[in-house]
Each structure stands twice: as structure tokens, then as C-alpha cells.
Symmetry: C2
Amino acid sequence: MKRDEFDQWVRAELDAVESALDAWVPSDSPAGLGLAMRYGVLDGGKRVRPLLVLAACESVDGNREAAMRAACAVELIHAYSLIHDDMPCMDNDILRRGKPTVHVQFGEAQAMLAGDAMQALAFEVLTPPDSATVPAALQARLCSLLARSAGHAGMAGGQAIDLASIGKPLDEHTLRDMHHRKTGALLQASVLMGAATGTTTAAQWNALSDYGDALGLAFQVVDDILDVTQASETLGKTAGKDQDNNKPTYVTVLGLDAARRHAAELRDKAQASLARSGLADATWLSLLADKVVDRDN
Amino acid sequence: MKRDEFDQWVRAELDAVESALDAWVPSDSPAGLGLAMRYGVLDGGKRVRPLLVLAACESVDGNREAAMRAACAVELIHAYSLIHDDMPCMDNDILRRGKPTVHVQFGEAQAMLAGDAMQALAFEVLTPPDSATVPAALQARLCSLLARSAGHAGMAGGQAIDLASIGKPLDEHTLRDMHHRKTGALLQASVLMGAATGTTTAAQWNALSDYGDALGLAFQVVDDILDVTQASETLGKTAGKDQDNNKPTYVTVLGLDAARRHAAELRDKAQASLARSGLADATWLSLLADKVVDRDN
């Protein structure tokens, strides 16, 4: 029953996020830049981060307009990072979300600019001129959370470690540190941005932070598992590419069985954090943790 | 007399900006990312944008801490755009600020990541956790101004037009539109961010906006002139590269003499806007307009 309601909620929110992105990502930007931006973010992706923002907002009965802006902003950051990550000087990948990557479709220079403009757009979306719907203090808080999770201490820093680790053996500790930054920081920030749209106690905030931390790591462990167990068609991106790129993953470091056990442990940890939070209704967050671990793409 | 004071003010502010950047751009970021970021922004550049922020702040007797953060944030955006612009898929340039470009020094992937992390860092710097020194509403306003000037409607959009214009004849109108976005938007935003740190009437705000607009265009016209009249050693970057890249410039569209006259007209327009603003002391802004037009690098 709850499961059916959840599926309905997910479908409705995915539609709402798509409409909002469609409205906010420009189609009339000069010299085709807007088209490249739209190609890179519309009509694709699992939208895990927006769903986390919106579920966290519901769990704290937060400001819906602010949460939708945060949901789109974090997806813009995620989508720009994929565009840059796919470029020839990084992973050199040609398939993403079942389509040719942005640089294959629009050229490398336009892909780089589209990514750059999408990062800026994320902060535009968070700072609407009208502070009546999103109070200025909340705008600033959301910008702060997003910038710190996307930057040198978060996503970009993790990608730098990733880049430096190609062909090198990593221990589990270093692998975990890399993923905490590269994937975990933005997923955790999604939860916290949603939480920031409402009111929480310090204990609730910390519990949601722990939930986001465990879920972020679980997401990456499952990604590493899927990279070796699924075909490219299911993933919508090139399967086995970590192996081909000689990159350390949870599967190469722990082995497949231990990686699966680790993902289950992290899900349990995320659920325990939610239980500890004492939030009145964290159902969607709980079911999202299951969805992240049980997914097949 | 004023001129001496101005030179002193410029030197002191350049030192202050350098110290602030040195403190805010991380040296201990993982896998060399911080080093690449620091290489790309410290110890170089004319710092026109930070000086505009700080001069505008003085003209409205604004919040000094906020202005220093805005000065560094806008310079981080400018510096990241140079790093990306110099990359092989864009201008493919090897010399910048008298040094090898970031991708030559650190590799293309690290250069792209450093630029990405610097854009995020700009918004980190604008949103300190402590809102006692920079009120949250001002943080949000500065993020809004910076994001819009850096994104698709501003700098990134202008670069996309630039990219599409290579080898094509442009009329003066299209060239002006490109430069309004590519260079003008961020220079104008620098003035407005400085103005936002204090209190202005709507008329003063509009006058400062017009000043920033004229100055931004003047800056680009002078850049185009210097590209053909100065040697690489003086510029600290490759001279004649617009011509080599077959890019339309004010010099190719108007001719050298008319470009010089145009720069002088724009300076007059900037000065007239300041006079119209009725601000008690806009001396530094006025002398900065002269400095931008009279510079030789």
C-alpha cells in the first residue's frame, strides 16, 4: 500500500521536476548554448538527488517552492558534472542516459561551456529576485550547502582523487574518502537542502545528515556493483567502464559478495538514522533508501 | 595628488585581495586540485573586477567584509573562465599572465576540474556560515548578481557566441552583444556587487549600472586594441591571437582609429554616469575608468 503511494509520489515529483527544469533551463540562449544545456539535463536520469530534496522537505513539512528550486539546482550540478566527466580529457565516454554524450552531440567547447553555464544556473535558480516565496536567508543557506558539496572539498575534490587514482591500488579507506566527496557530498547535501527548507532540531539535522552520508555511500557501492553486473542497455551508459579505465571500485577492492553485503549494511545504517531522527513522517526517505540499493540501473 | 592617493589605494587593495584569495583558495585540497586552483588565480592578473567591487563599495560606504568576499568571488569566476577558455578545445593557448596556462602545467583534466571547483568556491566565499559580518540577505543578493552575470545570459553565453563567430563576419551590433555578455556582464556585476554592499537610491543604482555597462564595453574595446598593438611580453598572454584565430574584434570591425575613438567615448559615458549618480565620493570609480582605458596591458 505504502509502496503504491510511494511509486505515485515518485512519478508525480519526477513530472514536477521535469516541468520546472524545462521552464528554468533556457531554450533561447545564444549560439545553441541553451540547447546543449537542455540536452544535458532534460528527459533523462534517475533524479535521485531531486527526489531526496523533495522527500526531505516533506519530512520536515518545509517550503515547497524552495525545495523545488533546490531539487533542480542539485540536478543541474549533477548533470554538469556528468557532461564534464564524459569529455575526452576525463573519462572520454560517448554514451550517457542512453544518448550520445553532450560533447559528441555538440562538440567539446560547447559541452564545456554548457557545463559551466549549468553550474551558474544552479545558483540562479536558488536566488529568485522575489524573496517572498523563498526568504533571502534560506536562499543563502541553500547556496552555501550546494556550493560546499560541489566544490573542492566535495564533488570536484573527489573527482580529482578519482583522476589521480587511475591504475593505482587504493585501500578501502582512500576509496571511501574519494566516494564520500565525489558522490556522497552532493547526495548528502540534497537531503540537507530539503531539511533546510523546514524547521529541525539539531538532533534531527544530525540524523538526516547521517542518513544522507550512509545513503550516499550506498549509492556508490551499488553503482560499482551495477557497473560489472549490468549491460550498457540497462544502465543507459557504458557498462564495465571502471574496469576498462583501470579504476579502483568497491568491487575490485572488496569483491562482489562483500560489496553487496556492504551496500545492505549501509542501507540499514541509513534506516537506523531515520528511525533515530524522530521525524513524524520519513516514509519517502526510507523508501528512497531501499530504491537506491535495490535498483538495477 | 588624488592620482597618488589612488595609486596607493590600488596597491593596498591589491595586497588585501591577494591575502584574502591566499586564505580562501585551499592549498591542501586532494590530489593537487588546490594547487591547480591557486596557480590559476594567485599572483597574477590586473584584478580590475575586484578593484571595481571595492571602489563601488567605498562610493556607497558599504560593508567592507562583504565587498572583499565579492571581490574575490568575481575574480575566481574570471580566473576559472580564463582556465577553461585557454584549453585546447577552446582557444588552445599556452601563455597566460606570463606563465604557462593551467592545462599546460597540470593537464587538461585537472584544469577543467580546477575551473569547476573555482566557480563553486566563488559561491562558498559569498556565503560564510557566520551571517553576523555578511547578513544572509546580502549573501543571497551577491550570489544572485554573480550567478546571473556568469551564466548563460552573461559570460558563458557570450563565450558561446564567440565560439560560433570564429571565421564569420560580425556587424558591430552582434559584436557588441557578444562583448556585453562575455566581458561586460561580469565587469558590470562587479560594480553592482560593490553597490549592493551599501545603500543606494534607485537612481544611484541605475547610474552605477550604466557606468559598469560603459566601462565593461570600454574594457573590451581596449583589449582588442592592445591585442594588435602590444607584444606578448607586455600583455603577459599571446598577442595577436584574435587575428590568428580569425575572430572578429572591434579593430577588425571598426578599424584601429575608430576603435580608439570608441574607447574614449565609452570612457566619457562612464564618467557622465558617475557624475549623474550624485554619489558623495566616486573618485576611485572615476579613476578606475581612466585606468581601464589608458592601460597598456
